[in-house]
Subunit: 661 residues, 2 copies
C-alpha cells in the first residue's frame, strides 16, 4: 500500500496517509486538529487547509472561491494526497486552548462555600473516606486471616460493620500489612451496596484523600481535583479565595478531542456507527480525560495514588460513549438511550489512568437529550430543594431546560442547533482567541465597535458576540423584528451577498483571516431558530404545569457560555424571558457544581437518583404546542409583544431617538 508523508504547518508535524485516505482522515488519525464541524461530510466547509507542496486532487466546494482555490485553499475532507505533501492549517481551522482555559477558570471555580450558597443542609462527608488503623500482629493464639484482622479492627475502632472487600485489595493485602508493620490506612467507599474496602496503604495517609470531578461536554471537558480530607473546615468560612483555593487544588479544561469527529452529538453518534467508530470516540475522549488528570496532578503536586474517587457528569450521548455503550438509538426516533442510570465502573476498566481501586460514579441521565450534566446542574444549583419555582436553563450546543422546585421537576431538550457555539453561522466560531465576544453599533453611523477574546484581530463571532450583534442590529434599526435587513439604510456595511443581505462586521483588512467577517440574514435566521426553540421550550414546560413566566421565582443560567451573555441583550432578542433582572442567576458550569457537591457529600447520591427518576421529560419533537410557540417566537423579541414589555418600551424609545437624529 502506498503511503505519503504529510507535513502539517505551522505545528510542524509529519504523519503518514494510507492509500485513498483524505487529509482530514490522516490528520484525525494523528491527532492533528482541523475544524470539521460536520464530521467530514463536506457539508460545513470549515476544514480549510492550504496546500503548499505536493499533488492532491481535490473536489470543489461553494465555500472556496476560485481565487482561493488557485492559491491552494482546499477542504481537508475533499483532498486526497497522491504524493508527499506540505499543508498549512490556517489559523481559523485550529483550536486555541489557552483562551478556553482562561474562560473556564473564571466561570467554573466554585468553592465549597459557593456550593453552600445554592444548596443547604449538608456536611462534608465524602463517599470514600480513609481510616488509619494499627493492628495487633498475628500470633498462634490469634491467627485469623489478614482480612478478618483488618475488618475486626475497623469494627472495634470505628464501628464499621458488614464491610465487603474489593478483590484487588486482597491481592496485595498481606504484603502491605507486613511491610507497613501492621499500621495502615484503608480507603472505604460507601455507595449503594454498603461499605466496601477498596484500598490499603502503608502508614497514615488519612490526610491524603482526593477526588477528581469531570464535566464531559460535547465540546469541552472540565476537570477539578478536590481535597476531600481538608475541606470540612472551609465550609464554615465565608466565600473567599482562601477557602476556594484550599478545596480545589487544581483545575483544567480542554476541548473534547471528539470535536474532530463532529461538532454536535448527532455527528458523534453517526460516527460511532462506522466500523470501530464507537471504540475510537471512546478512546479519544478518554485520552482527553487522561491528559487532564495528568495536568491536575502536576498542578496540585498530589500523589496520584491518593486519588480515591471520581465523579463524571455528561450528557446522555457523552456518558454512553465514555462507557462504550452504543448511542445509536439516542439518535433514532423514539430516541431511547441504552440506560439512564449507570453502574459504578472501575476507572481502570475504561482505560483511565488512575489506581485500580478508583471507581467512577456517573451522574444518571433523564432521557436521550437530558443528561447527567443537567441532573448535576439541578443538584448543584439547589433547584431540587427549594420551595421557590426555578427555571434552569443550560444554553449550549443543545439547549436543556428544567422547571420545578422541591416537589416536582419537568425538563425538556430544545434542538436549539449549534448557533450559540458558532455552528451554522457563516463566521461563527467557538469562544476562542480571536472570537468577537462583544459588539456595539453606533446608531448614527452604523459603524461597529468590537472586542475579541484575547484582544487580537478578529477571526469570527462567538455566541455571546452573536447575541450582542443581533440585539444591536435591531436596537439601531438595521434589521426588523423578522430579522431582515432594512433595505433603505445608507451604509456600506449592509450589502447583498449570495442573493441575501448581510452586515459587514469587519472588513478583510481588519481581520486575521483576510476575509470580510459578516453576519447574513441566514445567520440571523439560524440564531432566531435557536433562541425560539429555547423560549418555546420554556413556554411548553410552564404550560405543562399550568404556570406562566411570572410564576417563576428564579431563572438559573448554567453552562460556561451562559456566563458571558449580556442579560439585557439576550432579552432583547427574546432568548431569555422578560423578567426582572434580579430573578436571574448565573452559576457557571452547573454540571461541575453538582459533581463537586456529590464528591464532597455522599448523602446526595440518593438525591441525585431521585432527581433523575422523578424529573419528567417532555418530548418536544412531536409536540404541537411546541411548534406553535416556536413559530410565535420566530420574531425579535417575540410576536406577542406583551411578553417583553420592557424590551418593547426600550426599542420604541430607541427608534424614536434615532428618528429624531
Amino acid at each position: 500500500m502506498t503511503k505519503y508523508k504529510i507535513k502539517f504547518l505551522p505545528i510542524d508535524r509529519i504523519c503518514l496517509s494510507e492509500d485513498g485516505e483524505t487529509v482530514l482522515e490522516a490528520a484525525m488519525k494523528s491527532g492533528i486538529h482541523i475544524n470539521a464541524s460536520c464530521g467530514g461530510n463536506a457539508s460545513c466547509g470549515k476544514c480549510r487547509i492550504k496546500v503548499l507542496q505536493g499533488y492532491a486532487p481535490s473536489g470543489v466546494h461553494p465555500e472556496i472561491s476560485e481565487s482561493e482555490y488557485d492559491s491552494g485553499i482546499r477542504l481537508a475532507c475533499l483532498t486526497t494526497p497522491h504524493s508527499d505533501m506540505t499543508i498549512e492549517v490556517p489559523l481559523e481551522s485550529q483550536v486555541d486552548r489557552l483562551v478556553l482555559k482562561k474562560r473556564n477558570k473564571a466561570s467554573s471555580i466554585l468553592s465549597v462555600s459557593d456550593i453552600g450558597e445554592f444548596v443547604a443542609g449538608w456536611d462534608v462527608d465524602p463517599a470514600v473516606t480513609k481510616k488509619y488503623i494499627e493492628l495487633e500482629p498475628p500470633s498462634l493464639d490469634d491467627n485469623i486471616s489478614d482480612l478478618v484482622r483488618l475488618t475486626r479492627a475497623l469494627k472495634e475502632k470505628y464501628g464499621i460493620n458488614g464491610i465487603s472487600v474489593d478483590f484487588k485489595v486482597l491481592e496485595r493485602l498481606s504484603v502491605v500489612l507486613r511491610d507497613a508493620g501492621w499500621k495502615v490506612t484503608v480507603a472505604i467507599v460507601q455507595i449503594r451496596e454498603g461499605y466496601k474496602l477498596i484500598d490499603v496503604e502503608s502508614g497514615n495517609t488519612v490526610e491524603k484523600n482526593y477526588s477528581i470531578v469531570i464535566d464531559i461536554g460535547t465540546t469541552t471537558v472540565c476537570a477539578q481535583l478536590l481535597d476531600l480530607a481538608n475541606c470540612s473546615v472551609f465550609k464554615l468560612q465565608t466565600k473567599g479565595d482562601t477557602a476556594r483555593d484550599l478545596c480545589t487544588l487544581a483545575e483544567s479544561s480542554d476541548y473534547n478531542a471528539q470535536i474532530s469527529y463532529g461538532e454536535d452529538v448527532i455527528s458523534r453518534i453517526m460516527y460511532s456507527q462506522k466500523k470501530g467508530g464507537l471504540k475510537k470516540l471512546q478512546q479519544v475522549v478518554i485520552g482527553t480525560i487522561n491528559s487532564l488528570i495528568k495536568e491536575l496532578i502536576e498542578i496540585s503536586c498530589v500523589n496520584a495514588e491518593h486519588i480515591s474517587q471520581m465523579v463524571f457528569a455528561g450528557n446522555t450521548t457523552m456518558t454512553h460513549i465514555v462507557l462504550g455503550l452504543d448511542p445509536k438509538y439516542i439518535m433514532l426516533s423514539p430516541y431511547t438511550p441504552v440506560a439512564t442510570i449507570f453502574p459504578t465502573v472501575r476507572g481502570e476498566a475504561l482505560g483511565i489512568n488512575v489506581k485500580n481501586h478508583v471507581h467512577i460514579y456517573f451522574f444518571p441521565c433523564v432521557a436521550s437529550y437530558v443528561g447527567g450534566d443537567i441532573v448535576a446542574g439541578v443538584l448543584g444549583s439547589g433547584v431540587f430543594q427549594r420551595d421557590k419555582t426555578t427555571l434552569f436553563m443550560d444554553i449550549g450546543t443543545n439547549g436543556e431546560i428544567v422547571l420545578g422546585n422541591k416537589d416536582w421537576l419537568v425538563c425538556a431538550s430544545c434542538s436549539a442547533g449549534p448557533a450559540f457555539e458558532g455552528g451554522g453561522i457563516k463566521f461563527g466560531m467557538r469562544a476562542g482567541r480571536g472570537a468577537i465576544e462583544q459588539i456595539r453599533i453606533n446608531p448614527s453611523t452604523f459603524e461597529p465597535m468590537t472586542l475579541t477574546i484575547g484582544r487580537v484581530k478578529p477571526m469570527g463571532i462567538c455566541g455571546s458576540g452573536l447575541i450582542d450583534l443581533v440585539a444591536e442590529l435591531i436596537e439601531v434599526g438595521l434589521i426588523d423584528q423578522n430579522g431582515k435587513f432594512k433595505r433603505d439604510v445608507r451604509t456600506n456595511r449592509i450589502r447583498e451577498g449570495d442573493g441575501r443581505h448581510e452586515y459587514v462586521v469587519c472588513f478583510a483588512s481588519e481581520t486575521c483571516i483576510d476575509r470580510d467577517i459578516v453576519i447574513t440574514e441566514m445567520d440571523i435566521d439560524n440564531l432566531m431558530r435557536a433562541k425560539a426553540a429555547m423560549y418555546a421550550g420554556c413556554k411548553v414546560l410552564l404550560d405543562n404545569v399550568g404556570l406562566a413566566f411570572n410564576d417563576v421565582d428564579m431563572v438559573i443560567i448554567s453552562g460556561g457560555f451562559g456566563h458571558y451573555i449580556d442579560l439585557e441583550k439576550a432579552q432583547t432578542i427574546g432568548l431569555l424571558p422578560g423578567l426582572p433582572m434580579n430573578k436571574f442567576i448565573f452559576v457557571g458550569n452547573g454540571s461541575l457544581l453538582g459533581a463537586r457537591l456529590l464528591s464532597f457529600c455522599k448523602g446526595f447520591l440518593n438525591e441525585t437518583e431521585k432527581i433523575a427518576k422523578t424529573m419528567i421529560n417532555v418530548e418536544l419533537s412531536n409536540n404541537n404546542k411546541f411548534m406553535d410557540e416556536y413559530i410565535a417566537a420566530m420574531f425579535l423579541p417575540h410576536t406577542n409583544q406583551e411578553e417583553f414589555p420592557d424590551v418593547m418600551e426600550k426599542l420604541k424609545n430607541l427608534l424614536n431617538a434615532n428618528r429624531k437624529k
Copy 2:
C-alpha cells in the same frame, strides 16, 4: 539456546527441552504427567523414568539400585538431556484417570433428595433465576431508556424492586432487545447486594438455567453440572435414580493438574513462592477446571451460554491459588491466610471458560487449614442445623475434623500427613488402577489375598488397602501394638530390608512393576502417625467443649476416600473412635454436597457465612494437650484400651483362637 527433542512413551508425545532443563521440568511444561510428590526436589524418589535412547547425565539416588540404573532407570528430576531422547514413563509414574472417575462417580453423586435427607427445611430457590418478559416497544410517548423499560417491566410483572445492572449487560442490551422483538429472558442474581441483572437473552429460555459446582481438592477436582430450572419437582420424590439423574445432568472429575508441582498443600505453597510459581499453579488448576467444564457440557449437551452460576469449594490454599492470592503466610507460623471470606468473582476474570456474566461464589474458609471444603461439608451434611452433636471427619491428605451442632461448632486440622493418600509409604499410591484396596491375611499361613482397583496386577497400596493391611497384620499377630513386626514368626513374607523388618504383600513376579511390594515398619509408623493425629485431634476438640466420644451422637465420614474405608478395620487401628457402628455415616464428597446445596438454594448463603464465622478453630500445632493425646494414640489401637473395648475384645479372641491352632 540448544533445544532437544524428548519423545515420551507410551503416550508417544514429543516435547522440546530448553538448555539445562530437567526431564521433569520439560514434561511439566508440556503437560505430560510423571509422579513427583516432592515437587521436583529429588526427595521422594517417585518420578522414575526409563531412558531408552539419548545421552543424559543423571544424579544417583538411593531409590534406584545399581542394576536399575544400568538398565536406564533414572529420576526425571535428576536427569538433564544433552541430546534428543526417547523416554519411557513407567506405569507407576503415570496417573490413571479412568479409575478416579469411576470411584468418584460412586461416591459423589447425591440427588436433591439425598441432600434433603441431611439438611431439612429448604426449597429449591437458586441465587440466579430467569424471568421471561415481553416489553412494549418504545414510542415517542414512552421513550424511557432500554434499561428502565426492562426494570420497570420486571417490577410490574414480578415485583422486583431496586435491581442493579451488570455493566456487561448494558453493552449488548439495546441489540438483544431489538433482535428479540422485545421478548427476552433475563438472568437475575440475588447475592449479598440485592438483585442484579446479569444477563439478557433473546426469547424464552427460562427452562435453561444451569449451574456448575466444583470441589477443588489438593489431589482431585470434582465437578457437576446441575439443572436449576427443573429440580424443584424432584425434591419431593424419594431418593432414587430418576430424581438423581434429572438434577445432575453431568459430572466428572480429574486429578488437579497441580499434582505435578507437589503432593500436598505445603509443596504447592513452596512452589508458589518461586518466580511465576503462583501464576503457574493458578493456570494449571484453572486448566483442569476448564477441561472439566468442557466435559460437563459435552456430556449434558447443555448450551454453555445457559450456565448462569458457579459455586467453588476448596481448602484454604486451593482457594487462594485459584483466586491468585499469595498463600505464603498459610505456611508460615502463625499460619494466617490472606482472607477467609472472598468476594464473588467473575469467572472470566480468572480465565474460566464461561460467559462473562457467570460469577463464582467461593465457600468461605475458617482458617489456614480448615477451608471452604469443610464449611461446605458441614453445610451439606446438616451438622449446623441438628440438635444432635456430630463429629464430622474429612480424611485425606490433610485431616480436618469438626465437632458441633446447631448451637456451636469447633474444628481443627490435624497434620495427618499424606499416608492415607499413599504419601510417605514405600509402595503407597493414590487410589488408582493397580492399587491394592483390600487385603486379608490368612492367620495360619500369613499368606495375603489382595484385591486391586481395576483388578489388575498390583502396583502399590492405596489408603484403604493400607488400613486393611495394618489391621490384618495386628489381628493375625504379625505386628504388636507398637506396630513392630514380631521377630519369632515363621514366614518368608517377613524379612529384614534396609535394617528394618518388612512384610511382602506381593512378590515381584506378581506385580506389574517387577519389584516386591512390601510394607515396612517405617510405613506402619507413618500410618500410625496419621491415624494418631486424627484421633488426638478429635480428643482435643471434645475436651475443649467438655465432652467425650460417648457424647457424640453421630460421626460423619466425608471425603472420597472415606467411602472405601472398612469401618471395622479403621477402628482396629484406632483411626475411628470405638463407637457403635450405627453412629457412623458416610457422605462421600461432603464438599460437593454443600456446593450443590448452595447452588440449589440461595437461602444457605447466610448459613454458610455463619458457619465459617462461628466455627472456632482450635490450633493444634502448639497445643500441649494435642501432643499428649497424639503420643497416647501412637499405639494400635490406643494405649488406653478402655477407649476401644470392642476392638480389644476382638483382638483377645483372635489371639486366643490363633494360639489354640
